[in-house]
């Protein structure tokens, strides 16, 4: 018998049963993260059927998707958008009614759901974690099986603490060697998606392996796993190791001394056996990854910073050609033009992909002593109140504000533009977020995804480069 992958091990440990009629598996959920946008209909479903939340203590709520990024201390009254305020009020009512822990807007522990879980130590190796947000894959950085679900599934998890699902296939992403100086986890993730495509991981759980992955910090690992979904995968995983344990020690919800030893002993069993069977393997040489940016309207439309955008005239496949033409048109880029030197009007440093302290430090290093170009409006939105406080303790807020960046309060902000932070039509943005879809950051807005370092550089110089 061949060995098990890490995914197989977590799956087997959480399998409650397999439904004989449907063939669906019932998987137990260790942590259910919720936020205001994808839950109101789930709670009303519970109410309509007189159902309770089965394990409120395994659920954690934050307010992040449509919170404004200023004046949060004013609470709900400070939210000017009525619909957003209603959603936030509904969440506040629902968590109170069901006894769910909640970090409301203005609480220093509040922030983007995928920043908060790890920061609080709620995210732990070997867990199953779900949330009504596709970037739940972020938590896979700890060796937890974590993925996004829809609102009907949110309701199912609230009522039963289980998820009906089917097993995915195993995919190994082997990144050998080392990333070069100045190349980050974001560059690696974008490079990988440009290689496999946005549907490349469909039906699979990806495990990131190899020396270049092991060398990443926890925060870099979170950035990498965060983008698994953009490669179509259900989830991303990295086996826990010393880096993981070091990061977790002392976090508020991490196991305390006494319980820690047993937990760590268990976590050390969480790796893919050497003889595990992979359905698919993708190999990447760490040295081959360059600083990478997207040029188009899909995360797979990424090229090295030194590269040129494609020229449809050289593409034979009609479907591919049509997609490239549409993206170039939307992005207002000339066929075959170098990406470097493209002027931007906006810069967004934030989102669950790149809003943690290391990201802010990397951006501040570029901003130190420099000035944001006159033609650019640049924003820094920390991932949580605690990240913001840490950055302020290190004086990073001063570095940013003195350079002309706006220093905002935490939330999803311009990652999806549900709050007032959006692009105007035709505006071009250097963004550290995860999606460059048409209209994602505002109708007609043009998004180029990149690392915090490159985004900060674009803010200073006014161009991608």
């Amino acid at each position: 018998m061949s060995g098990k992958t890490l995914y197989d091990k977590i799956w087997d440990a959480h399998l409650v049963h397999t439904d004989p009629a449907s063939g669906d598996a019932l998987i137990y959920i260790d942590l259910h993260l919720i936020h205001e946008v994808t839950t109101p209909q789930a709670f009303s479903g519970l109410k309509a059927n007189a159902r309770r939340v089965r394990r409120p203590e395994l659920t954690l709520a934050v307010a992040d998707h449509n919170t404004p990024t200023e004046n949060q201390a004013a609470g709900l009254e400070g939210v000017r958008d009525e619909a957003a305020r209603n959603q936030l009020a509904a969440l506040t009512r629902n968590v109170a009614e069901h006894g769910i822990e909640f970090f409301p807007m203005g609480d220093v522990r509040n922030g983007i759901v995928h920043v908060v879980g790890p920061e609080q130590g709620r995210t732990q190796p070997g867990m199953t974690i779900v949330c009504g947000d596709s970037h739940t894959s972020t938590h896979g950085a700890f060796g937890a099986l974590a993925h996004g679900i829809g609102t009907s599934e949110v309701e199912h998890v609230l009522a039963t603490q289980t998820l009906r699902t089917q097993k995915s296939r195993n995919m190994a992403i082997e990144v050998s060697g080392q990333l070069r100086e100045g190349v980050t986890a974001k560059d690696l993730a974008l490079h990988l998606i440009s290689v496999i495509g946005t549907a490349g991981g469909t039906g699979h759980v990806m495990e990131y392996r190899g020396d270049a992955v092991r060398a990443l910090s926890m925060e870099g690992r979170m950035t990498l796993c965060n983008l698994s979904i953009e490669g179509g995968a259900r989830a991303g995983l990295i086996a826990p190791d010393e880096t993981t344990f070091e990061y977790m020690k002392g976090r508020p919800a991490a196991p305390k001394a006494g319980a820690w030893e047993a937990a760590e002993a268990h976590w050390r069993t969480l790796f893919s056996d050497p003889d595990a069977k992979w359905d698919r393997v993708v190999e990447i040489r760490g040295e081959d990854v360059e600083p990478t940016v997207t040029w188009g309207t899909s995360p797979e439309q990424a090229i090295p910073l030194s590269g040129n955008v494609p020229d449809p005239a050289t593409i034979n496949d009609p479907a591919h050609k049509a997609a490239v033409e549409r993206a170039l048109h939307y992005m207002d880029l000339a066929p075959g033009a170098p990406i470097s030197g493209t002027p931007v009007q906006r810069v967004f440093i934030g989102s669950c992909t790149n809003s943690r302290i290391e990201d802010l430090r990397a951006a501040a290093k570029i901003a130190q002593g420099a000035q944001v170009a006159d033609s650019v409006r640049a924003m820094v939105v920390p991932g949580s109140g605690l990240v913001r406080a840490q950055a302020e303790a290190e004086g990073l807020d001063k570095v940013f504000t003195e350079a002309g960046f706006e220093w905002r309060e935490p939330g999803c902000s311009m990652c999806l533009g549900m709050n007032p932070d959006i692009l105007a039509p035709g505006e071009r943005c250097a963004s550290t977020s995860n999606r460059n879809f048409e209209g994602r950051q505002g109708r007609g807005g043009r998004t180029h995804l990149m690392s915090p370092t490159l985004a900060a550089r674009a803010a200073i110089t006014g161009v991608i480069g």
Binding site: G23, E57, N86, Q87, S134, G150, T160, P318, A319
Partner: protein
């Protein structure tokens, strides 16, 4: 959830320059400004909002669902990787509100695909060339297709029958319109047993209820 058994309806194809659009993402299906609702109904207003409205807010007559021949189309045909992007269930809710209960595409993104089955929408995966051929037959107001889930067939307006595959469990729950939660709660004892074992084997995962 409403059951899905058979559907006879016109179809609308999402095309760009004569080819089915690939990677139609959930931001495109329903943009963020429509996600601030606490209801499931009324979302057709936002369905394909940026494709169906011009910048000045008026309807774009070129968009397929604005054309008279496609009013009331219950079937949508699109390109590869339909529904990629966010987990928002507002996407299937908006389709449902529009009266679309079947989507045909070469492939679907994972979460969207799941969400369809929770809402009585049948996603049918067929080879790209078959989807393109079906799209070509969506032309007139009387070009009706029939989808038969039990038989797993799509019948074209010209009368050709195409077979599709579907997971048997999912087929059953769509046919019966089953309530997932109700079913799972019937297995309550197995969940209790699992929780007892979990408390014993991974005690650090226990948390006190507040």
């Amino acid at each position: 959830m409403k059951a899905f058994t058979t559907l006879t309806s016109t179809a609308a194809a999402l095309t760009h320059k004569g080819r089915l659009m690939a990677n139609v993402d959930t931001d495109m299906i329903i943009p963020k400004q429509f996600l601030k609702t606490t209801e499931r109904e009324g979302l057709s207003r936002g369905l394909f909002f940026e494709l169906k409205t011009k910048a000045d807010g008026s309807p774009d007559p070129d968009f397929v669902l604005n054309q008279p021949a496609h009013q009331g189309a219950g079937i949508l045909i699109a390109g590869d990787n339909f529904g990629c992007g966010s987990s928002r269930e507002h996407a299937p809710w908006a389709l449902l509100d529009q009266g679309i209960t079947c989507v045909i595409a070469p492939s679907f993104a994972d979460i969207f695909h799941n969400n369809c089955f929770k809402n009585g929408i049948l996603p049918i995966a067929l080879p790209a060339e078959v989807c393109e051929a079906l799209a070509e037959q969506t032309g007139g107001a009387n070009h009706r297709f029939t989808v038969d889930l039990e038989a797993q067939t799509v019948t074209t307006p010209e009368g050709a029958t195409i077979q599709f595959n579907i997971d048997p469990g999912r087929k059953q729950s769509l046919l019966e319109g089953l309530d997932d939660i109700g079913q799972t709660l019937q297995a309550g004892e197995t969940i209790d047993a699992f929780e007892a074992r979990r408390a014993h084997e991974t005690p650090w995962l226990q948390r006190r209820a507040s």
